[in-house]
């Protein structure tokens, strides 16, 4: 891809004169922060986006890729971050969708199964051809996506953050499969922002920042710190400095919590733990194992079916969100856009939404615009929220700045228990560094923090203790120490290992 420039109609320059190349048979990592332009670049290569100027060459020939269809014809396949699968179809039906084998004018279902099974065998991507997608685990769904591209004759595979939803073990399997693909002559572009993975899987790395390529290097010549520097443009401390812990008494107690979803599925089963003052308790687990429900139940968004939650000595299970907040709970929600902020409202309104009804803002149900303004401007300065003004609309902010608004509101409420769900999702390295430091400052200040994150390295870097959730249950509780490995936690995340109640009690 030569001199690619992409300017969106609203004037945003997503790619600025980008040169990107990949050699046959290599695994090239493409890294960069959110908004660096790596996804746009790959969408251009796959024909999903047009480009403003530049040219694409494949095997020395200039090619025109104006649609995914053309990309597929040229042997380019893409595995998207959110899976492109039809839930009610079987795996075989998904693999052949769009170019089904035919018998006359009818589909040849047997041939589809045969094709899927033989491809799966050839590339070592084990799947169950006749199972429906909605009854298939995430790791297998991803293999289906890869099979789809292979069925369409892809020689160049683009994998867009493929490990985001996988456990360490599933990631290992994926890496093995990727290596096998390359050994059989395929070429792989691997988009990620996890630097450990870059080192582990790739031959070469391209780093992007602000729509430009800032580095093209052989992986073996650089360290993780070097790559991070190229991504951010300054030195980044990948390891956080944690002060020794001053653990106080149990601030929050969760006892035998159970939650059954509206569809009747048990999402939480007999969950019990304490969060102590001056502690970060990390919840690890593959997404969809009850973490979301745990946070929603604890923050008052959903009623617990069974069990109790105490914050201090107040019972907050089945109380509404305002009552829970008044009991001293702060909540940084995982889905910022739905539960974290109101997009049409102003920054100031978002900052005071948990306290607008009481002094000092409101007296006798009348709000004081002056107080709202002074509080908002103070918070914007303190949390470095970059915006046109305190009355700018929320949707004019970048993802990182939106998250800072949420943080400013939740931290300034000075909660005794702070629940942080995926606090750094979708924010860049610079902002996550800031968020991590803020969380640690609260901990050192003697607050209790519950950190729920799908990013295992985040949990391991910040937490004092780690609890692992699997299928709505806590399968293990660990003191965080350098001896605790991702692999070990992975066994609990997959449900392969489970602690006995006695083992768990030791770390309670």
């Amino acid at each position: 891809m030569r001199d690619i420039t992409k300017i969106y109609p609203n004037g945003v320059v997503a790619n600025d004169d980008v040169n990107f190349s990949v050699e046959r048979g290599e695994i090239r990592a493409l890294v960069g922060e959110n908004g660096a332009g790596k996804s746009t670049l790959m969408k251009i290569l796959y024909g999903l986006e047009s480009f403003t100027s530049g040219a694409i060459y494949l095997d020395g020939q200039r090619v025109d890729i104006s649609s995914p269809h053309k990309a597929i014809d040229l042997g380019i396949g893409m595995v998207h971050q959110n899976f492109m699968l039809v839930p009610s179809f079987t795996i075989a039906q998904n693999v052949v969708l769009g170019s089904e084998p035919r018998k006359g004018s009818f589909m040849d279902a047997d041939a589809a199964i045969r094709i899927t099974e033989s491809l799966a065998k050839e590339y070592g991507l084990e799947v169950e051809a006749t199972a429906r997608i909605d009854a298939t685990p995430v790791g297998m769904r991803q293999r289906v996506e890869i099979l789809k591209t292979l069925y369409r004759g892809a020689d160049l595979l683009i994998l867009d953050e493929p490990t985001a939803v996988l456990t360490p073990q599933e990631t290992d399997d994926l890496f093995e499969a990727v290596r096998r693909l390359v050994n059989q002559g395929k070429t792989v572009i691997f988009i990620t922002h996890k630097l450990v993975e870059v080192k582990e899987i790739s031959d070469t790395v391209t780093v992007m920042r602000h729509g430009k390529v800032t580095g093209n290097v052989a992986t073996k010549d650089v360290s993780e710190v070097d790559i991070a520097r190229m991504m951010v443009g300054r030195d980044v401390f990948l390891q956080v400095d944690k002060a020794p812990q001053q653990r106080g008494k149990a601030k929050a107690r969760v006892e035998h919590l159970g939650y059954i979803s509206e569809t009747g599925r048990p999402m939480l089963r007999d969950v019990s733990f304490n969060v102590y003052e001056g502690e970060i308790l990390g919840i690890a687990g593959v997404e969809g194992n009850g973490q979301t429900e745990l946070v929603e139940v604890m923050s008052g968004l959903k009623p617990a079916t069974t069990g109790e939650i105490y914050v201090g000595d107040r019972q907050v299970a089945r109380k509404n969100a305002r009552q829970v907040r008044r009991a001293g709970v702060g909540h940084i929600p995982e889905d910022r856009l739905t539960n974290g902020v109101a997009l049409e409202a102003t920054i100031a309104e978002n900052l005071v939404v948990d306290r607008y009804y009481r002094p000092p803002i409101a007296h006798a149900s009348i709000m004081s615009p002056r107080v709202i303004r002074s509080q908002s401007e103070a918070l914007m300065a303190e949390f470095d929220i970059r915006a046109a003004g305190y009355d700018a609309p929320m949707d004019s902010l970048s993802g990182g700045n939106m998250q800072k608004v949420v943080l400013a509101r939740e931290f300034s409420a000075d909660p005794a228990l702070l629940i942080a769900a995926q606090p750094t999702r979708g924010v860049d390295i610079g902002a996550s560094e800031f968020i991590h430091n803020q969380l640690l400052a609260k901990r050192d200040d003697g607050k209790a923090i519950l950190l729920v994150s799908a990013d295992l390295s985040e949990v391991m870097n910040l937490s004092d203790r780690i609890a692992v959730m699997y299928k709505g249950k806590i399968t293990g509780v660990f003191q965080n120490s350098p001896d605790l490995t991702e692999e070990e936690l992975g066994f609990y995340m997959l449900g392969i290992k489970e602690q006995t109640p006695e083992e768990m009690a030791q770390n309670m």
Binding site: L85, S88, F89, L97, G98, R265
Partner: protein
Amino acid sequence: MSFETVLASIFSAAFIASVLRVSTPIILAALGGLLSELAGVINIALEGIMLGAAFAGVMVSAFAPQWFPGLPVWVFPWIGVLAGIITGIILAWLLAFFHLELGADIILAALGINILAAGGTVFLMYSITGDKGSTSTLASPAIPNIVIPFVNNIPFVGTLLNAENLTGYNVFTYVALIMTVLITIFLYKMPLGAHLRAVGENPDAAASVGINVKRVRYYALLASGVLAALGGLNLSMGYLTIFQANMTAGRGFIALAVIYLGNRNPIGTVIAALIFGAATSLGAQLGTLSVPPQLIEMIPPAVTVIALVIYNLRKRAQIVANARKFQERAEKA
């Protein structure tokens, strides 16, 4: 008439025949709605399309002898059917154009078409015939019945196969049954049918493998227009041979309910339409008892509501069962 006679009449071949006749227009419209629903573009303009087609069929077939004097008489009703189908396609195309090209909300656009059809048919009827209520001043032909030969002397079977007067079922009833089979084959055995279902379930996934989502949705909406048109024509050229203002009387909406009741598949949809037809026929039978007519008129919609509730309860149970299956699989893996 006593209650016993009503019971006796329900368990008779004549009752089954009447159910089939009442259900035919709903089956046709519901199959059309099913195609659009499965493609992710639910067509709630079925009612308006039925009405428009019913009107066009009567008008064109009534005037066809003047326009084409040389043609044999049996051709005229079929010219009317053709006109009705074309009307259905035009109305469905309008909906598709508004939604797929101009980005209008499909529910609002379809509401517009329903209102257009309700007002437009009466307006045109009054302009042409001078009558606002019905086309009773026009002599419009009927689509014939098909009589199966040799069975009329067999007691139960004769009534079953050729209806109560042994005069056969209307062509539309056979069309509805054949369409059910064809659509089932199309949806589950043919590539385009699979694409249609994929487009409805996950349009991004379909687009990412090169399926033209917009084109598939056009096909689905136009097909729903044709089928709804057949349903409407059945009312004005089979069931009756007259167009009356608002003669569809909500059948297009019942057809929508029937799709969900039938679990969004063709066979289920037909069964659900037959249940509704049975409720309507039962109401007609009870009309002979001294039950207030208002209560009797409530039966078909009440049955529909109850059935929808049962369907939703069943669906929830199914979700739970699926979740359990998923868990078991995950545990095995």
